[in-house]
């Protein structure tokens, strides 16, 4: 599903951020990448999203070579095959909850009724069916991140990229958000890369990798556990 080979990236002439990264992810796999600040986690995520281009190496997503794509092609790929969850939620304040969730469907020109149905079922899935017409400022942080998860998955992406999704949440909300995330990806069979500092969050992943100067190092066999609420 996702294969990174000999991936290197550096900014200007300074030391390389990423050097010769090799990594493969099977379809439906859920992996957490941890690492100290400054090791290039965000850069790695941007490369996987096609928002930055690698200096060398290849990124193959679902058979598409991302590294060779121009901005428009990468954007198109993101639109169809990827979903994003951010630390700061990034829910548009002037749109309702439902409108926020429906954004990817709009971008993918999904027919209106179909889109509405998908949105409603997605909202129901994240437990916010009754908040469809609320405005973001009326929601709590946990609820906001649920909206973001719904938006990330509503169009059935192949790959979900989550960047520290619990960073702005209290531990209780964080646990429930992570549980929801895992449930949803496993249900839809979406491949997921989670970048986080939180071992508690990482613990929900199938595998945990540590990004160091030497590359991605597997952290033994992680037994994914279900967090009881």
């Amino acid at each position: 599903m996702l294969t990174l080979s000999h991936l290197s990236k550096s900014y200007s002439s300074s030391r390389p951020i990423l050097q010769d990264i090799n990594f493969h992810l099977n379809a439906g796999e859920y992996v957490a990448i941890m690492g100290e600040s400054g090791t290039g986690k965000s850069t790695l995520l941007n490369l996987m999203a096609g928002l930055e281009t690698p200096d060398s190496g290849s990124i193959v997503i679902d058979g598409h070579e991302l590294a060779q794509m121009n901005d428009d092609q990468a954007t198109q790929l993101r639109r169809e095959k990827m979903g994003f969850v951010f630390q700061a939620f990034h829910v548009l304040p002037h749109l309702s909850v439902a409108q926020n969730v429906a954004l990817p469907l709009l971008l993918n020109s999904v027919e209106k009724q179909q889109a509405q149905a998908a949105t409603m079922s997605m909202l129901a899935a994240v437990g916010l069916a009754d908040r469809a017409h609320s405005r973001p400022h009326e929601l709590s942080g946990g609820e906001m991140q649920r909206v973001a998860i719904a938006r990330a998955l509503v169009h059935g992406p192949r790959l979900l990229l989550a960047d520290e999704p619990t960073g702005n949440l209290d531990p209780e909300s964080a646990d429930s958000v992570m549980q929801l995330l895992r449930e949803q990806i496993k249900q839809s069979g979406t491949t997921c890369v989670l970048v986080t500092h939180s071992t508690r969050a990482a613990a929900t992943a199938d595998r945990v990798l540590l990004l160091t100067m030497q590359g991605l190092i597997p952290q033994g066999d992680n037994v994914p556990h279900t967090i009881q609420s």
Partner: protein, 844 residues
């Protein structure tokens, strides 16, 4: 202490990071201040030179006795001189002499040197080198003394001769010396009074008698004492009255220009407001953090005001420098006459005026502070904890939205339109326009909400995003909207007013120029005329079927006001409307009898300024006599702002015995082409070049050219309003784009292309500007109505019909919408760099 340091860092950081937007604010204030300051300096220089001229002409006089432009009987001189209260009486003859090849007339003062020594010492001529004036002294009938400014203007030196036109004849005057004490900018000539009377055919008449009273005489009491012995139309005024009268000449014009300049400053203030609001909104969470960290509400307000102060100070200083340079350049290149034609005969230079400088500095600073105050107060009022949350920006703006104050402002604007002028200036009208503008701007968020919330949501993704943004964030949108509204409405108002005026003038010219050929004795001054003999020659010139003669002169109905023009021309008493564009009722023709008053027809300005209504009787001073007259009708006149009276030429001749005329309108015999008639006229009047002959088409073209020239400043201000409007759009979209960097970042993540974001912004800009332009058009139309029906009649005493310049308005509107779309699109580009993608990671 520490907070100050922190604030300083904070301020500097903001300026460094968003220097361009700060610069826009500075430029906007600078433009406003520069325009206002330059217009003021030019007008100030002109009018102070003008009143300086009046003052030095009146010299040490305690009182000036003056009457009509033709003058009054010189026998008043011994009468006044013998009064026991009078120390010295100095008689003066004033002539506006036409100099061939010069468009402006030369003012020539005829004085009695012996009397002027004590009363008008500045007017004394200084005889040049004796060798140059062999046998010539100050009393020589051809001896003329010129002020230094007049010598420079006419490119003459001592000993030269100067040709002046009297009637159709050219007379040579000898430059015998200078008038060294005349003001630096004054173009005048001085002659002996007897020589002036003789050389300019003014025997028996003087224009003025200046009086120096004995010490201890009560001037006011003496003034009223002599009023009873002076003939009608002749009155004694103090030098202060004289200056006021000179200032009155151009006051309305100057005030109008200053108001236009203030409009530019207002738009500048608005621009500062919109940049400051956006900058504050963008930094909302930063400011909230500072509040959390312990910055007090008051110091937060001070910080934001400090930013406004810096913008204001920078803008004001550069504006003052720019304005001074512009004023100096304008005075240097084109003279003080900004097109209004009020300041001929003086050549002033720019003078530094400390008070004006202080006031315009304060205005610029005040505008910037005012622009910062609203956002400062709002930010300080916000709850820091809430403001820290993303998405609260819209709340901040929503609070600006309460319709009641706006509606009160608009209602008071409406009421002010019905208040009369204050001190003869349309102050309430101007205030009404300001209130209407502020009220409408305050209503913009509500309008934006009302319009966009009912706007159908499109399905196309970029338009969907644009429309939902406008719907959801109408408060923020309304800032840009208000900028467009302010600039477009002002531009539209000026354009509608000027077009209405221009079309009305054009129509009026058609009405006023019924003949096929027009001839003037000279284009300037009051010394040229056609004698009775000349008139017979004109009538018998081959090709001329008939001719109507016109005598134009000036009379004073009120010594405190500028003289009005008396036009004597043939009027059919049965049908005066054939020659005059009447407004309202016209009296039926009066039976001709010696006991009945003679009918005169007053222009709108004469009616307004002198309280004349149809049917009113009053005494009209005509030369040495005065005559009972009745107002037969009010006609529209755009040419004479201080008023005009039309009297039948036959009546005028009977009453004054004055056979001379100044203009002739001629109808041609069938088959005669105008050029041929012109040649015949030149040939029969033995005077080939000096006659000013034109066809109505030419007169019309020339008049409209003069009209356009006098509105140059207005056109310039329209352009400035549009530029400021575009600046406003750029500032508001630039600010928004930066404030929305995180939104763009997220959208890019979820698969929105750069082009789509650009398109989204362009659609937002176009929609917003379209709404702004439509609202601006409506507001501009209302402001134009106020200008046309309140401000113009009150300042210039003439009315006009409304005409819409649709082509101009729609092309400017289209340009604005297009420019806004481009600007919005461009502003998005900077927000979509890599930095913008990082924005999703920034919490702030």
């Amino acid at each position: 202490m520490q907070t100050t340091a922190l604030a300083f860092t904070f301020l500097l950081g903001e300026f460094r990071a968003h220097g361009k937007r700060v610069a826009i604010g500075v430029i906007a204030i600078a433009i406003g201040v520069a325009m206002g300051y330059a217009v003021h300096l030019i007008n100030y220089a002109a009018s102070s030179e003008f009143s300086q001229a009046v003052r030095s002409l009146m010299g040490n006089a305690d009182l000036t006795v003056r009457g009509t432009r033709i003058g009054f009987n010189e026998q008043a001189y011994p009468l006044l001189a013998r009064l026991p209260e009078v120390a010295v009486a100095s008689p003066v003859v004033e002539i506006d002499a036409h100099i061939p090849q010069q468009s402006e007339a030369l003012k020539i003062i005829g004085i009695d040197y012996f009397r002027a020594q004590t009363v008008q010492p500045n007017m004394l001529g200084h005889l040049a080198d004796e060798n140059m004036n062999e046998g010539l002294d100050a009393f020589h009938p051809n001896a003329l003394f010129l002020s230094p400014a007049a010598l420079t203007w006419l490119k003459l030196k001592l000993g030269d001769t100067l040709a002046v036109q009297v009637g159709l004849e050219i007379r040579q005057l000898h430059i015998a010396g200078t008038v060294p004490a005349a003001g630096a900018g004054q173009r005048i000539g001085v002659m002996d009074i007897a020589a002036a009377q003789w050389r300019f055919d003014r025997l028996g008449l003087v224009q003025r008698i200046d009086l120096k009273l004995r010490p201890g005489v009560d001037i006011a009491a003496f003034q009223s004492k002599i009023d009873s012995i002076l003939p009608t139309g002749v009155a004694a005024v103090t030098p202060a009255d004289g200056e006021r009268r000179a200032a009155n000449l151009s006051r309305a014009y100057r005030v109008n220009l200053n108001v236009l300049a203030l409009v530019a400053l207002f738009t500048g203030a608005f621009l500062v407001f919109s940049t400051q609001v956006l900058s504050v909104v963008r930094r909302r969470s930063q400011l909230a953090l500072l509040r959390v960290l312990g910055l007090t509400r008051a110091s937060l307000i001070r910080w934001i005001l400090a930013e406004g102060t810096l913008i204001g100070v920078l803008g004001s200083i550069s504006g003052l420098l720019l304005g001074y340079a512009v004023a100096a350049a304008v005075l240097d290149y084109s003279g003080a006459d900004l097109g209004g034609g009020y300041f001929s005969g003086v050549r002033p230079t720019v003078h530094f005026d400390i008070w004006a400088t202080v006031i315009f500095f304060a205005l610029g600073l005040g505008a910037a502070l005012l622009g910062s105050l609203v956002p400062a107060l709002e930010t300080a009022r916000a709850q820091p904890s809430r403001a820290l949350k993303a998405g609260d920006e819209e709340n901040a703006l929503r609070r600006l939205r309460s319709p009641l104050p706006a509606l009160v402002l608009i209602a008071s604007a409406g009421a002010l339109c019905f208040v009369g002028p204050v001190n003869e200036l349309p102050i309430p009208g101007y205030i009404a326009i300001a209130l209407l503008l502020i009220g409408s701007i305050a209503l913009m968020p509500r309008l934006a909400y009302a319009v966009f919330s009912h706007f159908p949501t499109p399905t196309h993704s970029a338009s969907y995003l644009a429309v939902t943004q406008l719907k959801g964030a109408s408060g923020r949108a309304s800032i840009g909207l208000s900028g467009i509204l302010a600039s477009f409405s002002l531009m539209a108002a000026m354009a509608i007013m000027v077009t209405s005026f221009r079309v009305s003038v054009d129509e009026w010219l058609g009405n006023m120029l019924p003949a096929e050929l027009y001839m003037r004795a000279a284009p300037s001054g009051d010394t040229a005329y056609f004698s009775a003999q000349d008139q017979l020659i004109i009538l018998s010139t081959p090709g001329i079927a008939r001719a109507e003669f016109l005598r134009s002169t000036h009379i004073s109905l009120d010594p405190l006001r500028p003289a009005i023009t008396l036009i004597a021309r043939p009027i059919d008493p049965a049908n005066p409307a054939a020659r005059l564009p009447f407004i309202g009722a016209v009296l039926p023709s009066q039976p001709l009898s010696s006991t009945q008053p003679i009918t005169v027809w007053a222009s709108e300005a004469a009616a307004d300024l002198h309280g004349l209504v149809v049917g009113k009787q009053f005494m009209l001073p005509l030369g040495a006599h005065s005559q009972s007259v009745i107002v037969g009708g009010i006609w529209r006149d755009y040419a004479r702002q201080h008023g005009a009276l039309v009297i039948n030429l036959a009546d005028y001749r009977r009453l004054t015995g004055d056979e001379r005329v100044t203009e002739a309108g001629m109808w041609l015999q069938a088959g005669t082409i105008p050029a041929q008639a012109v040649n015949n006229l030149r040939a029969s009047l033995h005077n080939n070049t000096r006659l000013d002959i034109a066809e109505p088409g030419e007169v019309r073209r020339l008049s409209l050219k003069i009209f356009d020239r006098s509105f140059t400043v207005t056109y310039l201000l329209e352009a400035v309003a549009i530029i400021v409007g575009l600046f406003g759009i750029a500032a508001s979209f630039g600010g928004q784009a930066l404030a929305r960097a995180r939104e763009f970042g997220m959208l890019r993540h979820i698969g929105v292309t750069r082009r789509q974001i650009g398109l989204m912004l362009a659609i937002e800009g176009a929609l917003l500007t379209t709404l702004g332009v439509l609202a601006g058009l409506l507001l501009g139309w209302v402001i134009a109505l106020i200008l046309i029906h309140v401000v113009n009649p009150q300042s210039f005493h003439w009315t006009m019909n409304t005409h819409m310049p649709w082509v101009l308005l729609s092309s400017v509107a289209a340009t604005l919408i297009f420019a806004a779309a481009i600007t919005a699109w461009l502003s998005g580009r900077s927000a979509m760099s890599v930095q913008a993608i990082r924005a999703v990671r920034d919490d702030w």
